[in-house]
Amino acid sequence: MESTSSSLADVLERVLDKGVVIVGDIAVNVVDIELLTLRVRLFIASAQTAREMGMDWWTGDPFFAPHSARAELDRRTTGLEAAEKVPERAPEAVHER
């Protein structure tokens, strides 16, 4: 556990809607913080989801691809390169779908 520089998402999570709230007529309302927090949460969630899923989520999802197509593809590419002979089309490619 090292203290690394924190990502923007980590900082947003803490700074946006945490901390002391000041109410009453001494506070000047400059931003709708609840709405802003909601928008940021949605944005972070969708960005994280997209990244975690690499935008090609179906290839890694066991439901759609019981053996990960990505790993299989890498293995096959390496095999082909080692053989120094690239066939026009891998015969089992149809199983990747």
Binding site: M1, V11, V20, I22, I26, P66, E72
Partner: protein, 248 residues
């Protein structure tokens, strides 16, 4: 169009005689000042309140206005936190002027002092554990019969459930070790794949033990395929949930 000026407030701290030596590097805010009253201080910068209006229009981005303002906010809170116990204020808190700031400090003096004493000598640490994906199977599907395929699918789902159980156990073990070393804990809103997402308020003498436990048990959870994300140290952002207003 006349620009409305206000005081953007970042934190409440003790009003001892000290200065923000080595003022943090800020991107949008001016140099922070301390408004002192009754042994407390409000940390503020003067701002044009229209600045915050731009937040409604923009998409959050790494170099956008929101990121800039939020990083400034964090930098100022941390600069104070290096010297004194601090109660961070929520982002976007603006008070009208200096008299308003003084009224706030005088009317909430007891409550603020109590909270400052509570977080003094503590730092916040965050730990999140997410389910990890099952390692990819190596055997190809070529030549597999339909029945074999379904059997394998079922087995793979059973394995998956077992893996998730192991990861949940690891996350629970991690949490119970950490919570023993903390004064307080706050659980965050969880996403579906999240096993643990908590902030711990850790007294300084326990920090080494806390970090050791987080590293060791975090490694164990990782060994079971979970992802572990630890952050800190933070000022006590997650442990200052109070509302202050001028009363009477």
């Amino acid at each position: 169009m006349s620009a409305e000026r206000g005081l953007c407030a970042y934190a409440i701290t003790r009003g001892a005689r000290w200065d923000l030596v080595g003022s943090p590097e800020l991107r949008a805010a001016g140099p922070p000042e301390l408004i002192r009253h009754d042994g407390l201080a409000l940390v503020v910068t003067e701002v044009d309140t229209a600045l915050f209006g731009g937040l409604d229009a923009e998409e959050p981005a790494e170099d956008g206005l929101l990121a800039t303002l939020v990083r400034d906010h964090d930098a100022i809170v941390r600069a104070v936190f290096e010297h004194e116990p601090v109660l961070p204020l929520r982002f976007g808190t603006v008070v009208a002027d200096e008299p308003a700031a003084r009224r706030l400090l005088s009317s909430s003096c007891d409550e603020v002092t109590r909270w400052l004493d509570r977080v003094a000598g503590h730092r916040e640490w965050g730990v999140r554990v997410d389910h990890g994906a099952q390692p990819a199977e190596e055997t190809p599907l070529t030549g597999l019969s339909g029945a074999d395929y379904l059997r394998r699918r079922r087995q793979s789902r059973l394995d998956d459930r077992q893996l998730k159980d192991h990861q949940s156990d690891a996350a629970r073990a991690l949490h119970s070790a950490l919570v023993d070393l903390a004064t307080d804990v706050v659980h965050r809103i969880q996403r579906p794949q999240t096993l643990l997402d908590a902030a711990y308020l850790v007294p300084e003498p326990n920090e080494d033990a806390f970090r050791r436990a987080a590293a060791e048990l975090g490694e164990e959870a990782r060994g079971r395929g979970a992802t572990v994300h630890a952050t800190g140290p933070w000022p006590p952002y997650s442990f200052t949930r109070l509302e202050l207003g001028v009363t009477g």
